[in-house]
């Protein structure tokens, strides 16, 4: 049983006009076994929340804590956070030329587990994880994300999620840009991961479409750098029908 607690998180980014506060006091607790969806309009800071948790150097935390089982992970480097059990599926996965998917996955798995994966079963495990994401085994020999279509990049992220099997997964708009078939494949991967029962998911999305496939326990509305409303699945239906206007107006 693990807990990810975000407490009073304030985050700035450097802009041409100087530092700009994007997150203005985020509070959220996720327990393993739970799926939380964060929904919000463009520019509300949803992705900043994802990157700040993962430790992207562009974002500066000015106040607050992110506790993973009581340990403040904001004091850890990016790789230490991942080894502590955190995973970020990125909205725009990065292309790394010349580094094969196979080599990348083996290096990551070794780092996360603290030991090299068993040679005998490893290739099969990778190919199966790719296969479940409808990526054929030739992807293992391609450079990480290089020349992948948008959908292939997202499916590759979820294949990594299944292989690395972290305690908590933050999915940053994994659904954006996916066609309906890819959306189903990706959702099934996330559901398999969370069906283990002892894993937590923070699903960040702009659209309610993915919630037809991934059933969140909690839905949060994120506006202007904070959570402004928390509810259950019905809140998503309300957002679908009415949009964010009510919350945006209230937040201003």
């Amino acid at each position: 049983m693990s807990t990810l607690e975000i407490k009073n998180l304030h985050v700035e980014v450097e802009t041409e006009e100087g530092a700009k506060e994007i997150l203005r006091g985020v509070n959220l607790t996720i327990k393993s076994g739970e799926v939380h969806a964060i929904m919000g309009p463009n520019g509300s800071g949803k992705s900043t929340l994802a990157y700040a948790i993962a430790g992207h150097p562009k974002y500066t935390v000015t106040d607050g804590e992110v506790l993973l089982d009581g340990e403040n992970i904001l004091e850890l480097s990016v790789d230490e956070r991942a080894r502590a059990g955190l995973f970020l599926a990125m909205q725009y996965p990065v292309e790394v030329p010349g580094v094969s998917v196979a080599n990348f996955l083996r290096t990551a798995k070794t780092a996360i587990d603290g030991e090299a994966p068993k040679l005998r079963t490893w290739t099969k495990e990778v190919n199966e994880a790719l296969g479940r994401m409808t990526l054929d085994s030739s992807f293992a020999h391609r450079s990480v994300n290089e020349g992948f279509s948008g959908g292939e990049k997202k499916r590759h992220e979820i294949a990594q999620l299944e292989i690395l099997n972290p305690k908590f997964a933050v999915l940053d708009e994994t659904d954006s840009g996916l066609d309906i078939d890819a959306l189903r494949v990706v959702s099934e991967g996330v559901n398999r991961y969370s069906a283990q029962g002892d894993r937590g998911v923070l699903l960040i999305t702009h659209y309610t479409r993915i919630l037809q496939y991934i059933k969140p326990d909690y839905v949060h509305v994120f506006v202007a750098g904070r959570l402004v409303e928390t509810g259950t699945r019905e809140l998503a239906d309300q957002l679908e029908a009415e949009g964010y206007d009510k919350f945006i107006n209230a937040a201003v």
């Binding site: 562009k58 480097s77 790789d79 991942a82 080894r83 990065v94 790394v96 580094v99 780092a111 996360i112």
Partner: protein, 392 residues
């Protein structure tokens, strides 16, 4: 056709010498290549004081020690300077190459006549960086022959070398030049490659060691349909000067060139120079050319010069372009790898490997791929404080 008409056609198409700083006059005559002052365009980056004997030295009997592994279809013999000149090819384009031709005690002639079933490997080892050495090699590839040829340089040397390739019509050549010198070596190399009609050349150049290595590679096309890929990898450590100059002279229509050189630098006064010159002549209609140079600066105190030049004399080109990048690690690459649990040092190592692997994987000679990857690994092990290098 009379000689006069020939001359007129030739001058209209500008197939003779073109007055351009991109194109020094090819000549065997030493008088055409005066001792440089360092202000000349082609010499302005080279530390001449450290390079001296290669520009004003005298004849020497010293030779590199040669061992070879030649599959059926390759023969090796020794010929005279005059016999070598009579074979043709691009004459020396700078003084170091002209001296190599003038002073080399003899000429090694490699003839490739068939389709080789294994790479031809020639190992050339120097035993002293104090002894002035000159080398002149001619490689003749028969029409429709197919070969991979490795010139594998190592040891310590002070070498001026001219390597001339004559690639017959329809032939396919992978030529690999590997400079794995000890760190006291000085090497002035000129590789001149003439490509026959419909022939395909892939030229690979790997420069890993040496105090100063200055390599000039020149291409011309003997007929339409000829294609050249030029790939290079270099890694400069503290105090090393590694200079690669390319001159692709599109002398025939419907020809193709593609240049991709990648370098890394680390340590105080590590200096790399890459100059990629492409000349598209009037006659060279419908050609395609692209050149790219990327440099990864791994520490403070290093300097990378990168200069792509494109000179176009025809309006009818299928495609022409170039690009150059010089920078430190890409934060996004490191963040992505680290977000998967890979520590920073290992992430940097992966990125550098990936950067070079892009070129190395193309060689298609498995033991050589492995050797180069190991060599890159060894270079990286030398990088002090890889962790401390930051792009912020």
């Amino acid at each position: 056709m009379t000689a006069t008409i020939n001359e007129n056609v030739s001058s209209a198409l500008e197939l003779g010498h073109v007055e351009s700083h991109l194109h020094p006059k090819p000549s065997f005559d030493l008088a055409d290549h005066p001792v440089p002052t360092g202000f000349e365009e082609i010499w302005r980056f080279t530390p001449l004081a450290r390079f001296k004997g290669l520009l004003d030295g005298s004849a020497s009997d010293a030779k590199l020690t040669r061992t070879e592994e030649l599959p059926a279809g390759v023969t090796l013999s020794t010929i005279t300077r005059e016999e070598a000149k009579a074979l043709g090819g691009i004459a020396p384009l700078d003084r170091a190459a002209a001296l190599a031709v003038e002073y080399a005690p003899d000429v090694t002639w490699i003839q490739i006549t068939g389709e080789l079933d294994a790479p031809a490997r020639i190992k050339l080892v120097g035993d002293s960086a104090d002894e002035q050495t000159w080398a002149h090699v001619v490689v003749s590839v028969a029409p429709f022959a197919k070969a991979t040829l490795l010139l594998d340089y190592s040891g310590s040397t002070k070498l001026g070398a001219q390597v001339t390739y004559l690639i017959g019509d329809g032939a396919q050549l992978d030529a690999i030049s590997l400079a794995d010198w000890n760190n006291d070596s000085i090497h002035a190399a000129q590789n001149s490659l003439s490509i026959g009609r419909d022939a395909t050349l892939r030229f690979f150049e790997f420069t890993l060691g040496g105090d100063i290595v200055r390599s000039s590679t020149n291409i011309d096309y003997q007929g339409p349909g000829a294609s050249a890929d030029l790939f290079g990898v270099y890694f400069a450590d503290a105090g090393q000067h590694l200079e690669h100059r390319l001159f692709v002279d599109h002398t025939a229509p419907k020809t193709r060139s593609n240049v991709a050189y990648k370098g890394a630098l680390q340590g105080q006064d590590a200096h790399t120079v890459w100059v990629g010159n492409v000349l598209i002549r009037k006659i060279a209609q419908g050609i395609e050319t692209f050149e790219q140079n990327d440099n990864l600066v791994l520490s403070d105190g290093a300097r990378a010069d990168s200069i792509p030049n494109l000179e176009i004399e025809t309006g009818d080109i299928a495609d022409a372009g170039h690009g150059s990048t010089t920078g430190r690690f890409d934060d996004q690459h490191l963040f992505y790898l680290q977000s998967r649990g890979i520590d920073e040092r290992e992430a940097r190592r992966l990125v550098v490997h990936g950067f070079f692997n892009d070129i190395i994987r193309r060689i298609g000679v498995p033991d050589l791929v492995e050797r180069l990857q190991t060599a890159i690994e060894a270079e990286l092990a030398n990088v002090e404080n890889l962790e401390a290098v930051t792009s912020r």
